[in-house]
């Protein structure tokens, strides 16, 4: 691709570069996401969180499921895994348990994580598995053409609900808290600074952490519901969002056009999987217990 840069009325330092570039496989650009889609915006926030957290990028692995957000793994210049639909979390569980020094981030969409992958989500949260789960919630199945998801709000029109959704939707932050997540936050793609800060926090926090990011899908969700384009959605987020840190997650359900409660809702310390494993085995087996050394040393 011809990477033309505009004639600019001032000098750009020769060593200037886009801060996201070291984190991305630039040889794979342009990405597949539509104009006005917010997934790329969340990736910006993630890369800045990685930068600010001073994480050793060789020790960060990213695991995605299937769908538009599932493609994030393929663009991140990290050890990256594009798994099967809904199974990013159990794959990540195996990866983390085998190699605990890895920081394992699960980056996927709402349909992937909460419909086909819903069971895995609640169990990983129950175990307080040390995974950082970032859910880009565009309220629909975008990759397949905008069908109803378990997050699609009532009255919305979708490809499989042509007369309007009537099933109640999941409130993801309440679900995550109830299942045992150590950290639960929600932002929108309008809240880039706050989102980057939240992502940085979870990179530094132990245990199962969950961030929901509302993101526009202008091609399939907003268009079908006459809600404008990506920019209109961003303006809607700006106008409809209310920051309420610590709000009871039960009060944070989303509706088609109502208030969007954003903020950090849960930040608690629960013992993690390894802590509990080691405590139980030491109690039962005493000196006979050998701490896991799963990575095959000489093979």
């Amino acid at each position: 691709m011809n990477e033309t840069t505009l004639e600019v009325p001032y000098e750009i330092p020769v060593d200037a570069h886009n801060p996201v570039e070291p984190f991305l496989r630039m040889d794979r650009m342009p990405h597949i996401w539509c104009p006005g889609c917010g997934i790329g915006t969340t990736v910006n926030c993630f890369t800045r969180a990685l930068l600010d957290s001073k994480a050793d990028l060789d020790k960060v692995a990213i695991v995605s499921g299937i769908g538009c957000t599932g493609r994030v793994a393929g663009y991140a210049s990290l050890d990256s895994f594009h798994t099967t639909h809904g199974r990013a979390i159990p794959f990540a569980t195996g990866l983390k348990l085998a190699n605990p020094e890895l920081q394992v981030v699960v980056y996927s969409g709402d349909g992937d994580l909460f419909a086909i992958g819903g069971n895995h989500f609640i169990h990983a949260a129950r175990r307080n598995m040390d995974l950082k789960v970032i859910c880009v919630n565009n309220l629909t199945y975008a990759m397949t053409g905008g069908q109803t998801a378990p997050t699609t709000p009532s009255h919305v029109i979708s490809a499989t609900s042509p007369y309007g959704v009537f099933e109640p939707a999941f409130n993801l932050v309440a679900l995550a808290e109830a299942a045992g997540a150590s950290y639960v936050a929600r932002w929108t793609t309008y809240h880039v600074k706050q989102l980057a800060r939240s992502m940085e926090e979870v990179l530094k926090k132990k245990g199962f952490c969950f961030i929901e990011v509302l993101s526009p899908c202008p091609t399939l969700y907003q268009r079908r519901n006459k809600m404008g384009d990506g920019l209109d959605t961003m303006k809607f987020y700006k106008q409809a969002s209310k920051v309420r840190h610590g709000a009871p997650t039960s009060e944070c359900a989303l509706t088609k056009s109502g208030e969007i409660v954003v903020g950090k809702f849960v930040d608690r310390d629960r013992p993690g999987y390894f802590e509990l494993l080691n405590a139980q085995m030491t109690e039962t087996l005493g000196e006979r217990y050998a701490e896991p050394e799963v990575v095959c040393g000489n093979c």
Binding site: R25, R28, L57, D58, K59, A61, V63, A73, G74, S77, L78, D79, S80, F81, H82, T83, T84, G86, R87, P90, F91, A92, T93, G94, L95, K96, L97, A98, N99, E101, L102, N119, H120, H123, L277, M281, L285, R288, Y289, A290, E291, P292, E293, V294, V295, C296, N298, C299
Partner: protein, 385 residues
Amino acid sequence: MHADPKGVLTGVHFLDGDHACCEGTLAAGARFSAGYPITPSTEVVERFASRIPTVGGIFIQMEDELAASIAIQGAVWGGAKAFTVTSGPGFSLMMEHLGYAAMTETPCVFVNVQRGGPSTGLPTLPAQADMMQARWGSHGDYGIIALCPNSPQECFDLTVTAFNLAEEFRVPVMMMLDECVGHMTEKVVIPEAERIQVTPRRYTKRQPADFRLYEPLADQVPDMVRAGEGYRFHVTGLTHDDRGYPSMNVETQDRHVRRLQDKLKPLANGRALSETENLEDAEVVVVSYGITSRVAQRALQLARQQGIRAGKFRLISAWPFPEARIAELAGRVKAFVVPELNLGQMVHEVARAAAGKAKVMPVTHAGGGVHPPETILNAIVEAVR
């Protein structure tokens, strides 16, 4: 290289097939297992859960078979040797990740202790009706390896072989037990660690800048890396190029999918695992595997007593199917008799390889028990008539 002595329970034991299989995983170097309980396979991971905390490793009981069969692959890319265990209904659920392992060339082992099906079927009773599912159960074209032990000793030995083949070919390997073999208790001799050969993972010696994750070597298998070593690699179930990047076009699909099958060709020919007896003068050959091969042994004895020149061909590696051997035999015998605990699965492979040069007779059984040896004998008698 030889096995890590930490996991090897050297000695003479009295074990059932499931437990022997577990000891095989430990001897082979597996330090990670994810499972979900299902009869008649659960004893494998029950023993692993009991043994692993003193060996140093992880057993995690996942929320379902989908999770178990992908968690092991996460562990493999993290650097572990890993396996899962299941039976019929769980094996059906694992098909998704059998395909993922084949596509992403993730070395791992699936143990399937076969029971009667379809659906919930006969949870506590034997069958051999998942043989075609093992080969073709996930969508698309790919290759796998399947091994069929017929004794607890082989459950140990072949489990080690399964891990070794998985590493050599970077492929998922199925251990196809049946309920009888899984629950049969016999003497099992576990050698000293230095007498157990273990195949190390084919980790690349190249530096990250020169390494391409799916660039095949001379044996058509690419070398591997694990996460956290600075390679910043990408793994996807999408059709991918040598770099591992999605590349969805006719050329890449053709090259990649053909290689997934072609890399296993050595096992379809010279390196196929089998046990044979009396093939030199055979006019009829009984092709069998797993528990049925032990019933067939009696039928073969009875046939020889009657003066029938009956020979034995026991499939140990059922997949890739040893077609070269069967084709060669087809040129010089009258018939093949193929007893199995299903309504006819591997018999179709025998017929395909025999290509009309010898008669092929199925001896079917819907599962839940084993054949009476006389049933197989009758088929042998009929075959030479």
